[in-house]
């Protein structure tokens, strides 16, 4: 086995259609890996299968084909080694904020005393800025606060890996920024390994070491892996001053707007090897207009358009 912490090989998922026949696979030939301490984001259009991949990694869902290995062990069923922050926070409304986190902590360390659990949970809730809300019910919290409880719950069990499914999707821009800052701080301090789904390109650039670009489904694949080459001590306020930022951003937006639909079908294989998706560093490229550059560097998408016409 190689040294990578998480390895995904030839992952494929096809849901059965209503009539029992298999649907075309949502995604197939998904290959990627994540190293320890890495923060990896995945972006792609709605419905391309991001949540499904995350659920497979979490062990909540079974892939049709392919494998996932974490720490040299096959992912089989859910595990306390992988903490999940769900898209809709998924707090239990009948438990207090502290109760929700304590439920997770007691599951991981059943032998701990009440005081120890409480202290541990309070520490993590403090970390997400909810030290004053321990005894509130989730219904008494704002959307952003609920999401932070979800994050504290996932962090509190100290998983080897965190899986975040659009954790900030439902939040307004202001709250989202604050929590992003918090997450950034926590991750920089703990060197947590993270796999995160997001729709927000800026969020991905701010947080990620690598961004996986997923093409449109069905038959979605990992189209490219973008390395975010900016220094790790980014801040939300300072990131815009880095000249790399706009190059990376333009590259991502161009992919989502123009190129994400060009990876389906046989002709895509002429220019794209899903087993080894190209690793690109748009931040380090020269000062060329990125969209133009890409159009000339990549003739294949145009080829496909020509075929379609």
């Amino acid at each position: 086995m190689s040294a990578h912490f998480l390895i995904v090989e030839a992952l494929k998922k096809a849901y059965p259609a209503a009539n029992g026949q298999p649907n075309p696979p949502v995604f197939e030939d998904i290959h990627f890996h994540i190293d320890k301490g890495e923060f990896v984001c995945i972006v792609g259009h709605s419905g391309c299968g991001k949540t499904t991949i995350l659920n497979v990694l979490a062990g909540l869902e079974e892939a049709t084909a392919g494998d996932a290995f974490m720490d040299n062990r096959e992912v089989r069923g859910p595990s306390l080694d992988r903490g999940v922050v769900f898209q809709g926070h998924a707090l239990m409304p009948w438990m207090s904020v502290l109760g929700n986190v304590a439920f997770a902590v007691k599951s991981k360390w059943p032998e701990w005393s009440k005081e120890k659990v409480r202290e541990h949970c309070a520490g993590y809730l403090e970390m997400v800025g909810l030290g004053d809300a321990l005894d509130k019910k989730p219904a008494e919290l704002s959307g952003g606060m609920k999401q932070r409880v979800g994050i504290a719950r996932a962090f509190a069990i100290q998983p080897k890996m965190l899986l975040l499914d659009e954790p900030f999707g439902a939040l307004d821009a202001l709250t989202r920024g604050t929590i992003q800052d918090e997450l950034l701080k926590i991750v920089q301090a703990t060197h947590q390994t993270v796999f995160m789904i997001t729709h927000d390109v800026d969020e991905a650039i701010l947080l990620a070491d690598k961004i996986l670009l997923m093409s449109n489904g069905p038959h979605a694949k990992i189209a490219e892996i973008v390395e975010v080459t900016m220094p790790r001590d980014r801040t939300r306020a300072g990131i815009h001053h880095d000249p790399q930022y706009y190059k990376i951003r333009n590259h991502l937006v161009d992919f989502l707007v123009n190129r994400s639909k060009t990876y389906a079908g046989a002709e895509a294989e002429m220019f794209h090897d899903a087993k080894n998706p190209p690793l690109v560093r748009p931040g380090l490229e020269g000062d060329r207009a990125p969209v133009l550059t890409l159009a000339t560097e990549r003739p294949a998408p145009q080829l496909k358009q020509a075929i379609n016409q």
């Binding site: 909540l60 306390l80 999940v84 769900f86 239990m92």
Partner: protein, 279 residues
């Protein structure tokens, strides 16, 4: 908010007075003596000559029955003459016992059925056929097999309470939010902890709704059941007073049935509030 409550209370009171007034007017004694004489004769025949029962009793007479029975609710003068509290107590004991047994069966069974789509389907035809059977239709079978009218009454309560609870529990458990189950799964929570700390609280409001419906039905059914098997209980009391042609007592008993039913429903409403969570 306060004023609307007050207004509603005033209107309720007016409606009540209007009802009593109309009742009073409708039952004013008529002048036809021949009919009254016949009634008096009939009453004498029934051994109740002392009480005048000229047609439908006026409110005042019913009021006297209220005062009489409520003044001494606990007396016991033999099998056919017991205080109202004792009769209600017998009915409540039967309902309580039958309902409790139904909870013991319906909630765990509903839990298991709700957890398994397979079992849900397997049990469904039985539930669908058994549910619409009037509980009193079981009475002959119950009397034949159990050979005891009191136990049969409890059985009838049991059988009518079980369906709403069973169905609601199964439905509540089956429709617990996927997210919560997934949280429990990712935390590797053991099945027992998952059942008691996640599924039960999540389904509790639905389960209690089922219990509330069951209790409502049970209270409806106990009156009919006691009329059928006799002996004790508020249903028997109604039947007995009808046989005595003591309509004021019947009206009093009917009112008591309504009040106790309301109190039972209020208790379950409170319990429901206790387990309901705000999302």
């Amino acid at each position: 908010m306060r004023s609307i409550k007050l207004k509603a209370a005033v209107i309720s009171l007016l409606l009540f007075l209007l009802f009593i007034g109309a009742w009073h007017m409708a039952t004013l004694p008529k002048e036809s003596t021949s009919l009254a004489g016949a009634n008096a004769e009939y009453a004498a025949l029934m051994g109740k000559g002392a009480e005048k029962s000229g047609g439908f009793p006026p409110p005042l007479e019913v009021g006297q029955a209220f005062v009489k029975y409520l003044a001494d609710p606990f007396y016991d003068h033999g099998p056919n003459d017991k205080g109202i509290a004792i009769q209600l107590g017998h009915s409540l004991a039967r309902v309580g016992l039958g309902f409790f047994l139904a909870v013991l069966v319906a909630v765990p069974l509903g839990f298991v059925i709700g957890m398994s789509p397979l079992l849900l389907r397997a049990f469904d035809p039985f539930i669908q056929v058994l549910k619409p059977i009037s509980p009193l239709a079981w009475m002959p079978l119950a009397l034949y097999t159990l050979k005891d009218s009191n136990v049969s009454g409890i059985f009838v309560i049991f059988i009518c309470s079980i369906w709403p609870m069973l169905i609601n529990t199964a439905f509540g458990v089956a429709s617990v939010r996927r997210d919560w189950i997934n949280v429990a799964r990712t935390l590797e929570v053991n099945p027992l902890r998952k059942a008691f700390l996640v599924i039960l609280p999540a389904a509790a409001p639905t389960i209690l709704t089922g219990m509330r419906i069951s209790m409502g039905i049970a209270w409806l059914v106990i009156v009919a059941a006691e009329m059928l098997v006799g002996g004790t209980g508020i249903g028997y009391f109604v039947w007995n007073e009808w046989n005595n042609l003591a309509l004021p007592n019947v009206i009093f008993a009917i009112t008591m049935i309504g009040v106790v039913g309301m109190l039972l429903d209020m208790i379950f409403g409170r319990l429901q509030q206790l387990v309901t969570y705000r999302e």
